[in-house]
Symmetry: none
């Protein structure tokens, strides 16, 4: 299985996130939902750059970040692969990241005067949507 997986990542310039962040989020999602299984090969810098019509260095930056997080591993001259034993974040880190995201989210939404139930509803739908895509 030396062919790289084809990533279904989309990158849009209109997004708030910088492009390299979109790539990171996209791949992290694929890995988390196991559409990208441990050991599988990722597209090359240049390949993904061409597919997404962006600069290879932007891809490199995203891959470097994922590499440092231990989610993917590089084998020089061979390519990049999803880590076998993806060393998951410590519980502390996970909690902190979640708390941070929640705070940001709340800051962005409270003033919109939605009820708690409405907000929760929208989130649940989005979660389902992602997992079934």
């Amino acid at each position: 299985m030396s062919k790289p997986s084809v990533l279904k990542i989309k990158v849009v310039t209109g997004d708030i996130r910088p492009i390299f962040k979109q790539i990171i989020d996209g791949i992290r999602l694929e890995i988390a939902t196991e559409k990208l299984s441990p050991g599988s090969k990722l597209p090359s810098y240049r390949g993904l750059a061409m597919q997404l019509m962006i600069n290879p260095n932007t891809v490199a930056k995203a891959y470097a970040e994922l590499s440092k997080q231990g989610l993917i591993e590089s084998k020089k001259g061979l390519g990049l692969f999803v880590s076998e034993n993806r060393q998951s974040l410590s519980d502390d880190e996970r909690e902190q990241k979640l708390a941070k995201a929640v705070t940001v989210f709340i800051n962005e939404t409270v003033h919109l005067n939605y009820s708690d139930d409405e907000i929760v509803e929208v989130i649940k739908n989005k979660l389902k949507e992602i997992k079934t895509t």
Copy 2:
């Protein structure tokens, strides 16, 4: 009622948000939770800048943004006031903003492998926390 309300906003440099964003969020929250009622006067640029120990330009930027959103209005020579009819956003806009915030939030959280229920739980708690503060 010409005395400006004293805002209980806090601004911290360690925050992920830029300072002007923290001010916007703070004031929006005060208005949404009706601690700041329609028609009440806001502190002056200089006054708030001194209170928060930040650059007046930063306050100006925040006020400008809030004005653009229609949440506050300037009455020439008198100062800035909370708008009387504060439901300035159309339903469409509200929905869009919520959807956008949800998407950002999900992007930051899915890969953490929390269950849907756990995520919803944390959000509910945070919402309660804010409204009782």
Copy 3:
């Protein structure tokens, strides 16, 4: 104390390490030996780049890495500062890093046929040298 500290970092192209790594190591060392105290301001991208006669982006890469490690914090528009509460690495991580470095070191040296004592001697001297510089 808004003046940035002057870093005594040296960067040499002959080094095995890439330049951005040399910067990281240099600053980490300054922080570890407390020549660079928490809260103090670092030189700007452009300033350090000029001082070291390298490209600002190379400095940016080093600073970004240190930022992500939590050793330094950026305050947009103000500059970069040594973190107050430098969240130290967990004991596990420290041990792993040490073990890794030791393995690399041994691989590089065993075949030189030095006695254990000689090797230890050289290391001790180097350690002293650094701490008194």
Copy 4:
């Protein structure tokens, strides 16, 4: 004694070192610890490549490097052999290599805030471990 020694080298892709470096280190270690004696025959390019399941070019690169260092010699038509007089490095070179390795090692470790004694301890243990394996 025309049969080549069977090298007990292991090569892992997860290693920080490139594969050809692992081979070099492995053989150098075998020679230094005299498990591989002067004059003994080394496995062929193809043989070692098959044994380690790697690209023959990678083995070639490792052998070329070892030849350049004078640790092994090729006898045309016969194969590769461990050099008879294996103290090929001058004292100067040995010192330089040691100093370089120490510097790299220190750069990786100082910021971990281990005491000198702890560091020395770990190294001593590792040295013992290797020599008794």
